[in-house]
Assembly symmetry: C2
Homo-oligomer: 349 residues x 2
């Protein structure tokens, strides 16, 4: 009931008081009002009080665009995720937003749908919007994209990966090492016949690194991953289900199925249940990311816990620190954690 009865939009209608109005109301110069807003410390308390009163009275809200134009800082930070429709990046997104909001920054977000071209388009849009800093997921992208960023002098950070070299500032963990760790866990239990359900490696360097990690760990034992037992699929429970069914249809069956993401593993677990395969007795299954059902889905999914929220928070803090002009050390890789649950055990034969 407190709103405009009709929802028609009157474009161009003047919006609120300006800084000049506030200055007049308070009987000071616009410059002083500006200082009250941006650097309250340097204005005499008595004056500041008058200005505050005027702001309050006129219900003044600063005009962002005008501020940006004059100060050359937009207070906008951009983030491009491969997908927004997943809990995976949700945690990172939420933590990032929370972190930067506390410093007065606003988050601009977009989803690339795992398509490099879309990422590039969104990036251009964001640069045009004048973002002060940028968060991206993964490291693999065309050189031209990095060139674009570098050209505009926009500080940026890559997440979900650990910098392979020092080329880019990264806030993430070593996907390859993490995948190797789960694999070794299985190897240590005696598994020798492996299969993998992996995300698409073409435009997803995290998925590629995980696949590489599995291969590397196997090689340490002189084993290789049979290409026929390496299924590359779009992320999803049903995809995991179907992949597991295929894997199990072929003799000799693998005793361990390593999944590049938890949803695959959920599907695998559920399909095992359907097929009457005992986990972990007949087959061990591992996931990746420790998403919200991993602890609950029987028999409990052995997986890698990845620092989703932490990456968002730290990425935010890192960018803010650079924007504040502080000397900021390039961040070092974060830890992952192997979570062993009921879905893995020694092979029976």
């Amino acid at each position: 009931m407190p709103t405009d009865p009709d929802h028609t939009f009157k474009a161009g209608k003047t919006s609120g008081a300006t800084l000049d109005d506030v200055a007049q109301e308070a009987g000071v110069s616009p410059a002083t009002v500006s200082r009250c807003l941006n650097n309250p410390g340097i204005v005499r308390p008595q004056l500041k009080a008058k200005v505050d009163a005027a702001i309050e009275k006129l219900d003044y809200v600063p005009h962002g665009a005008a501020r940006s134009l004059a100060s050359r800082r937009s207070r906008l930070i951009g983030a491009i995720f491969p997908s927004l429709d997943s809990t995976l990046f949700g945690g990172t997104l939420e933590a990032l937003q929370c972190e930067i909001a506390s410093a007065g920054y606003t988050l601009v977000v977009a989803s690339s749908s795992y398509e490099p071209q879309q990422e590039c388009n969104h990036l251009r849009n964001m640069l045009a919007s004048g973002i002060d800093a940028l968060m991206l997921v993964g490291a693999a992208r065309e050189a031209s994209v990095y060139r674009l960023i570098g050209q505009r002098h926009v500080p940026y950070v890559l997440t979900w990966v650990a910098g392979p070299d020092g080329t880019h500032p990264c806030i993430g963990f070593d996907n390859r090492a993490a995948a190797a760790a789960v694999t070794r866990h299985l190897l240590d239990m005696g598994h020798r016949r492996f299969a993998m359900i992996s995300g698409g490696t073409a435009t997803n360097d995290r998925a590629a690194a995980r696949l590489a990690g599995v291969r590397a760990a196997l090689e340490e034992h002189g084993l290789t991953l049979d290409p026929a037992r390496t299924m590359e699929r779009p992320f999803g429970v049903e995809e995991g289900r179907a992949a597991l069914r295929q894997l199990m249809a072929r003799e000799p069956r693998p005793t361990a199925v390593v999944c590049g993401a938890d949803p695959f593993a959920y599907g695998a677990l559920l399909e095992c249940q359907s097929l009457g395969l005992k986990v972990p007795d007949e087959v061990s299954v591992t996931g990746f990311d420790d998403m919200w059902l991993s602890a609950s889905l029987p028999p409990g999914l052995t997986t890698v816990r990845t620092p989703r929220k932490q990456m968002g928070a730290l990425a935010g803090r890192y960018l803010l620190s650079i924007l504040a002009g502080k000397e900021t050390a390039p961040p070092s890789p974060l830890d992952f954690e192997l979570i062993v649950r009921g879905s893995t055990g020694p092979p029976s034969r």
Copy 2:
């Protein structure tokens, strides 16, 4: 390798070419360049070609803040969700972003963590950033918030609810009716002893409406929801598990457990499995939202499919249409769909 070798940030460094530079390069006036950008139709093709070439050559990117200031439109659309760390709103968010991006708008996003105060703060920030339009979730909030929006003449739309009256433009479905529909499905099968696991109703009008819907359907049969069998919990699988255990600990056991959200139902289903309770023979379970595991988790969850992506897309389209100055009819409620799966059946006793 094509990037600045050191990641130090040089603030104040001049960024790229300006519109004036482009004008000079193309040998036309700045006004013409501006027109090429904003209204290419009205400039002679021959000139436009020259301008395009100049833009290309100088790698010109328009300065968003300057545009906003001069045109009084920021090309920014804001969205505040109760949470970003969930697939629930992820779909809506992604669809919204996709929709508005295609019209050249950029999405600004924030999470209120289900706290009204946070929502209000983020709203103020966004208004200061100059957003042209706004998307919110749910209708229940302080009158002052709506007043704030109305004052700035920012077009807005509420999602995940259907306007109870015509007070606000809403793009959503009738939560109450949807909950009533699942409940009637159970009633029709002969269930008479009900329990409910509900989200917090204090700051979540969707949860409140769902609870009300269940109550209303029961009342049609002269039944009431026992307060001792109405558990209000924060969303989550483990919460659902615990709630179900409590519900089943008390005789007489309910034959139907209605969950206000799918994660609760997942937990309930898993706990039934743990307890050795046969679903649906000993207890029927229903969810809400048809999230990604509902079809896969045995025995398949009977739930309500809610138009998550559609809401985002339509909300975007609605706002864009208003921003384009078109006469836009206030949207009408969307459909939900009852999805019957294996988790519901007639009560055994």
